[in-house]
Subunit: 649 residues, 2 copies
Amino acid sequence: MTVNTPALQRALDGRWAATRDDVRAQMGQLSLDPDPDLSTEEYRALTTENLRGLAESGRPQQGFDPAYGGGGDVGGVVTAFAMLGYGDLSLLVKAGVQWGLFGGAVQVLGTSRHHDEYLRAIMNGELLGCFAMTETGHGSDVQHLRTTATYDPATQEFEIHTPDAGARKDYIGNAARDGRMAVAFAQLITGGETHGVHALLVPIRDEDGQPMPGVTIGDCGRKAGLNGVDNGRLVFDHVRVPRDALLNRFGDVSEDGTYSSPIANETRRFFTMLGTLVRGRISVAGGAVTATEKALALAIRYGATRRQFAEPATGEEVVVLDYLVHQRKLLPALATTYALHFAQAELVADMHDLQAPGADAPEAAQRDLETRAAGIKAVATWHATAAIQTCREACGGAGYLTANLLPQLKADTDVFTTFEGDNTVLLQLVAKTILSDYGRRVAKLDVVGKARFAADLLGGMVAERTGVRAVLNRGDLRDRAHQRRLLVGREEHLLAGAAQRMRKALAPGADQFGIFNGTQDHLIVAARAYVDRIVFDAFAAAVEQVEDTEVRALLEVVRTLHALSVIEGDRAFFVEHGYLTAGRAKAVTQAVNTLCGELRPHARTLVDAFGIPEARLACPLLDGEKDASSAVTDPAPSDEEPSDLASVG
Amino acid sequence: MTVNTPALQRALDGRWAATRDDVRAQMGQLSLDPDPDLSTEEYRALTTENLRGLAESGRPQQGFDPAYGGGGDVGGVVTAFAMLGYGDLSLLVKAGVQWGLFGGAVQVLGTSRHHDEYLRAIMNGELLGCFAMTETGHGSDVQHLRTTATYDPATQEFEIHTPDAGARKDYIGNAARDGRMAVAFAQLITGGETHGVHALLVPIRDEDGQPMPGVTIGDCGRKAGLNGVDNGRLVFDHVRVPRDALLNRFGDVSEDGTYSSPIANETRRFFTMLGTLVRGRISVAGGAVTATEKALALAIRYGATRRQFAEPATGEEVVVLDYLVHQRKLLPALATTYALHFAQAELVADMHDLQAPGADAPEAAQRDLETRAAGIKAVATWHATAAIQTCREACGGAGYLTANLLPQLKADTDVFTTFEGDNTVLLQLVAKTILSDYGRRVAKLDVVGKARFAADLLGGMVAERTGVRAVLNRGDLRDRAHQRRLLVGREEHLLAGAAQRMRKALAPGADQFGIFNGTQDHLIVAARAYVDRIVFDAFAAAVEQVEDTEVRALLEVVRTLHALSVIEGDRAFFVEHGYLTAGRAKAVTQAVNTLCGELRPHARTLVDAFGIPEARLACPLLDGEKDASSAVTDPAPSDEEPSDLASVG
């Protein structure tokens, strides 16, 4: 099988291939390899300069409303944003704060008065701003933020106030150095009544960069990574802003203080507002995928030239990527990265179609998008954390040197697992949604269906011992439909079990917190199984659409390796519940080994097809490629100890 | 159960409790919280200053030969060294390079002529040095280093030479800035014959700090962490050193160039030399354990005050450590850290007894120590990497701020998994040794024993289906003996399987490399099972010796959580091979949940008992402890969506 790299790249590039090519070319014009000894201030200044360079390119504008000079290309701009993951992640995050979070909030939570006044200045980077949501005391539980925005009809102003230390806005990007304005999230109070969290535009610095009266700005200082981003803290001491500072698409206050909203229910309104911000979460997942791709490109190319330990028969030192244990570290991670790449592309396309100007997205479709975004964000960022760590280790001491790029990738992406929604909390959210959907599906069943369903639920253990699942113990592990049956079987099983456990909480006098708390780990696993299945489906669907037969054949092997390594990773579940016999589970492990060997000759092609600009990978780690043809042969001393295992220093 | 923290600390402190207390007091006198914005040069200078402070304390001297003013307290000095993991890990590593690697090599590979001339200056920090083993092209495969030391009888000198770019000494601590001398490892050549790797003392800088003639010194630059350590590169261009620069305990060259050694076999000599350096590997494991303890102390104390999401019934926000998913992240990791703490203490004590001045360690005992050291180093450093990562995530955005100490712990310990022996290679080494021991055990069996053994091997699958393992499906999961039976069962099973697979390589015409390579993942798993068992044994033995009944009872719960979480982590194996039924495997998972709940009230006690100086934990993350008594109550809006799951920002 010879695979044409450009053809494979076309499959990966997908719908926004032209945008990807533009960004590849553009990345050559930015300073994306900051001197690692830059001070925090110097790195921040460089990142701000790069941000202005991005603004000048016109690229970020593409995501905004065409009525204000934007391109209306939401999918393109999110794709382009993620491509920055091949370069400097501080720039990626700073751009995400400015245009995705700050600009995005003004676009989707504001109305024409805000768009008229601010959108152009935001797009072209004249007005730098913050997304001031998280507080020191409330991160995951946004609904209970404590900052207040109290309406004063006498002056027709809101008073923004930080009532206690826990209500301080914290970890806010663009706050410590550059931001002039913040979209501040606060409990809206008018006429003594609270209407839940709303967003308001609050100036935080004047033209000279001095804090506005009543605004105290702090600096979060040095971080594990992303030190080009100026994260800071904001405390508001009775800061007054005009009535029209309220981003009033989903809730407004009239001059006399009367509150109105198109969505009567407070919680529903809150979730609708949050839902419009889904782009941020999708963008983080995209950045996690590209950063992982870069790390894998480095580690796999290094592994394909690095030699260590001589093969006794020939005396020639073995390329480390020819060792099974080395393949096992990198190739399943590569396969999963492919899966996430395609799942992410599908998510971006769906978001684009739902959020395109003029599109009137049905609520169910929007909710489904949010659920998938939350799940894929959690899985993609945890995968990034684990895979980049593995890539570092696979490069040994060289991988620890900043010059070889992996340390920065590791440190910068580390926070992805907890920002834009803590992954554990996100998976609980996913679990809750899929559980509700499941309940609705059950509710729609007729009498016979309900009876069968109840029997399934109660008879779970019985079914495990009967022939119901025997079919899963036959069939070809390489067959797409068979892989899917296993993944779906696990998902449905876990969902049914979770539903059964949660139903106990409905009994009178039940210890609701205790039951919910005791089910948490089960819910997380169920959510994970759901995400694994939708990622698999997205990957499989993308592969089916590839026309080049060699590329499709290769991608089918990659899909199989991904699916079987997911199944292998949770094979205890499959065996415990009768989906695989012990022998079949061992066959899965053996198949993963075999598939690693099959993909080994294509490893370089698979990472080249990401189309990462060569300048973004240039580092001493890859110097070995220059003389990879001159293999070192070394006559091993024929002694009583096999030299290929033993020498360790 | 009320547990007395000092009594628990005494159990943890063990044999070198007094040393630990001394170091705790001493840590207040060093600058251990470097400004995170220090330049690389400033941080290196600070670390060197701290190193001199350590030398003045007299502590490092305690590990050296009393004949030269040392204390002969190997165990004490390794214990003290590991305690630096509560402070600044750059200092820990720099001290390890100076006294453990450089000084240790002079002590154990040199003879009196070297001891007389250098030991005092090394101990008191006047002579700073390097351990120049690793080369750019050879890290794990030390036996095939390419630097040469060629004897010239005409001048009675060795010529040290770097023959090619791959032979450059790389990642060498103390090389880039401070080192005056290096213990350089090179292929010793005399009379045209090579005698394998030997160590020689090579001056690399003169009194003014300038490189010696023929020595080119490079700088590895910024790293992911440990930036207080000046890692560098050394290239030797026909550098001449006198004949007595050879550290000649295990191999010498006479004036006329005749080679002699007390160990005739070259490979055996090489491994004997390397074996004497086991202290470095044990020290790294110790540092990994203390760093993990510090990270857990931070995350658990934070989790015990941080509140998020209100309990619907009361409206009171829940302390995050009361959530099962949060306990699941931290408490099994804490239990395993306890296990590793005790296993490490046992290892240090055994090393002390074997290496004490005058001790004449039997070779088998030394080899066993090396095997255990390699295995525990691999498991402890991987555990550190994973657990510190989890601690960071468990603290959310706060955990990402350098001020909160976790980022530095993460970055500094990251390289532990690949230095002093790459973990994967170390586990292969362990596998090889335990496999040889297994072979010897089999060889000693009588005819009946051999027949039974062969039947066991060949009948593996049969045994799985018979009643042999049924006993493991009964018994109390909390029972120490039962836990051990499961761990031993897995270890023996994997070992037997590996032996069976490797025997195929002995067949005439067998593809040795292919068979070996295909078995690599099996070998790694077998080694891991061995390490899990010895760690369990060490923990269990230590618990048995505790006299305080409350402390012992608590530690038994901790031991059970550790054992069951190890078993849960590999429960696919136990189910696939009939050691646990599916139902019993689920019971293991349930028991882990229950044990987390049982240990929750003792979580603070368990981390306090590490006795980490409070000044080393002081950071904004723990500010919540100051007002932990004032719980925030927040009446949750009773709306259609349960607020404790849904709000995510």
